[in-house]
């Protein structure tokens, strides 16, 4: 009877295609918007995630996310280095400022200054050598950042950006993760960054560090929080806090509305078409009941139909969503977009829910069909 279920389902091609398309559309909307939400919010922790060597970050107490950088007083570094259980700590200076490329483009940059003496916070490189930034006024930039600064121009070392009255020379392309802000991520030595941070006497934004072997991170964090006026967070907590910050800014709302629409339209359309399918096939279904096809068999048949529709609709929807992500991420500003696996799985669960709900509603109609109607025309 499973084979019969497939034949019934595929016979009316228009309805079959309509049902698949309804599921595909809903899946596409959910995955597209869900991916944007998840990927963009996920990017709020990109620059924290990129510094793999550290256990914790220390910052101004009111800092809510990575992009809200407010510098720490200079004594912070020494104090944190002196806390028991801290193996080492390094300064990181973050500043957002404007620059003009030698190409004539005016752009806002996200500059990260790292300490050349210990190399913590240096990015991994795609092109060129990261050691270049040890020189004064030399920088590396992420690939999307390059495309924003020098659109249409292949990377060539030696291009410059004027920031205030200094010229930054770009010596390489890093593989820094795309930031939430979409801005070019420019790594320099902390000395260069300090010179560019006009009007600010404080010399670092964050102190990042590692705990001594055998020390519990939470204990060390508690000690820093107790003995200093600053806020210490584990690497993961800082990422989570940045994520929640943007979540709290209403970012999900924009996407959730579209996700809800996708869900509602998908459910309504799929259920509607499935009911129409049951209605169109009522004579066949009643005849099968009279021939001794049990309700259990019919339930299995309809479940198989629902599963098949889900599979096809989801495959199409996922393919389109993934291709769309690929297409959108070609825009440098949106370079962080991708389709996260959890989004696909969640969407699959929803779509299966929709299809099985539709099949269930249809099945109740089938249950209600009177076998004696088989003789009526």
């Amino acid at each position: 009877m499973i084979a019969v279920a497939f034949k019934l389902l595929c016979y009316d091609k228009a309805k079959f295609v309509a049902m698949i398309m309804a599921i595909a559309l809903a899946a596409f909307l959910m995955q597209n918007q869900g991916s944007m939400l998840k990927a963009f919010l996920g990017m709020s922790g990109s620059q924290i995630r990129d510094v793999r060597e550290v256990d914790f970050w220390v910052m101004e107490p009111d800092t809510e996310c990575f992009d809200q950088a407010k510098p720490l007083p200079d004594k912070a570094l020494q104090m944190i280095r002196g806390i028991e259980g801290v193996a080492w700590a390094v300064p990181i200076l973050k500043l957002d400022t404007n620059g003009r490329t030698d190409h004539g483009k005016l752009r806002t940059l996200s500059i990260l200054g790292v300490d050349p003496s210990n190399r913590i916070g240096e990015p991994k490189m795609e092109k060129g050598q990261v050691e270049g930034i040890n020189e004064r006024n030399v920088a590396v930039v992420d690939p999307g950042g390059w495309a924003i600064l020098f659109p249409g121009i292949a990377f060539e070392p030696g291009r410059t950006i004027r920031v205030h009255d200094q010229w930054l020379t770009i010596c390489g392309i890093s593989s820094a993760s795309p930031p939430f802000t979409g801005l070019p991520i420019v790594h320099t030595s902390i000395f260069t960054a300090r010179e560019l941070n006009r009007g600010e006497s404080r010399s670092s934004t964050f102190v990042a560090g590692k705990c001594a072997d055998g020390r519990k991170v939470q204990e060390v964090l508690e000690r820093i929080n107790r003995l200093t006026p600053w806020q210490a967070l584990s690497r993961q907590d800082f990422m989570d806090q940045s994520y929640r910050f943007y979540e709290g800014q209403g970012v999900p709302m924009i996407f959730n509305i579209t996700i809800m629409i996708g869900l509602l339209v998908g459910t309504a359309f799929t259920a509607q078409t499935f009911l129409m399918f049951v209605k169109d096939n009522s004579r066949s279904l009643i005849t099968m009941k009279v021939m001794g096809v049990t309700h259990k068999q019919l339930a299995v048949m309809m479940a198989v139909q629902a599963a098949y529709l889900t599979f096809l609709g989801l495959a199409i929807g996922t393919t389109i969503a993934t291709l769309t992500s690929e297409f959108v991420r070609q825009i440098p500003f949106l370079r962080g977009l991708y389709t996260p696996v959890p989004v696909v799985l969640l969407c699959a669960a929803f779509m299966a829910g929709i299809a099985f709900l539709s099949a269930f509603i249809g099945f109740r109609r089938v249950l209600a069909m009177q076998p004696s109607d088989v003789f009526r025309s």
Binding site: M1, A3, V4, K7, L8, C10, Y11, R283, S284, T287, M288, V290, M291, G292, V293, T294, Q297, Q370, P371, S372, V374, F375, S377
Partner: protein
């Protein structure tokens, strides 16, 4: 003569209160193995209702119906379905073929319902279609077949699982005379069998000569039963 179907004082009412109508008013009816029994009468006299009750698709309001000595209402609903699947074959006025399935797949439906694989069920149904002169159309969809051909596929479906009772409701009413003749001929030559009873509802008096017995119905009761001269197909 062995009774396949016996109805005793069968009543059936529809509706309730003021709108209640009694469609069957104490039916006495029987159909025997090896025979083709016709149920004839004017439109609206209750023929379809009676065979629905016999087939267990409707429950009688009163009276007794037994099939091969079994009272269907006494079985559980699942047992009733399984009993019907095994013992009954149906032919309908409107053929009731499933448009999405080929002739052979349609004819195989009772076997598929019983859990047989598509391949083996279709192989068996093709043998029956062959016998009914439909072998060459076995792989075609119903919409490509004429009415007479569709009814022959339906007949194959009623025969494929070798049921003990075949119930036909107006099998020739939608067909022209020639196709109707063919269907009736095939019905009497392949369906009638010593271990099987065939009940045919019709008001097409041109095919009455195929009957072994004719039960005349009017206004919810069997008025008289006519025994035909020619012998039932008993071996």
């Amino acid at each position: 003569m062995i009774s396949a179907v016996t109805c005793h004082q069968v009543r059936k009412t529809f509706g309730s209160g003021d709108t209640v109508i009694e469609v069957l008013r104490g039916v006495e009816f029987s159909a025997h193995l090896g025979e083709m029994t016709f149920l004839v009468g004017p439109s609206g006299c209750g023929k379809t209702t009676l065979i629905s009750v016999i087939a267990g698709l409707l429950n009688a309001s009163a009276g007794e119906v037994s099939l091969f000595g079994i009272h269907l209402p006494e079985l559980g609903s699942r047992e009733q379905i399984l009993f019907r699947r095994k013992n009954l074959g149906f032919v309908f006025q409107q053929y009731n073929l499933i448009p999405a399935l080929t002739a052979a797949e349609n004819a195989a439906m009772p076997l598929l319902a019983a859990g047989e694989s598509l391949k083996s069920a279709v192989n068996k149904s093709k043998v029956v279609l062959e016998r009914l002169g439909m072998g060459h159309r076995a792989d075609q969809l119903p919409r490509t077949l004429s009415g007479g051909q569709q009814q022959r596929v339906a007949l194959a479906r009623a025969l494929v699982h070798e049921p003990r009772l075949i119930i036909c409701d107006e099998p020739t009413a939608a067909l022209d005379h020639e196709s109707g003749e063919t269907v009736m001929q095939l019905l009497s030559s392949s369906a009638v069998h010593p271990d099987r009873a065939v009940v045919v509802v019709t008001h097409d008096n041109r095919v009455f000569h195929y009957a072994n017995r004719i039960a005349h119905m009017n206004d919810g009761v069997i008025t008289h039963v006519e025994e035909k001269r020619h012998k039932p197909h008993l071996s």
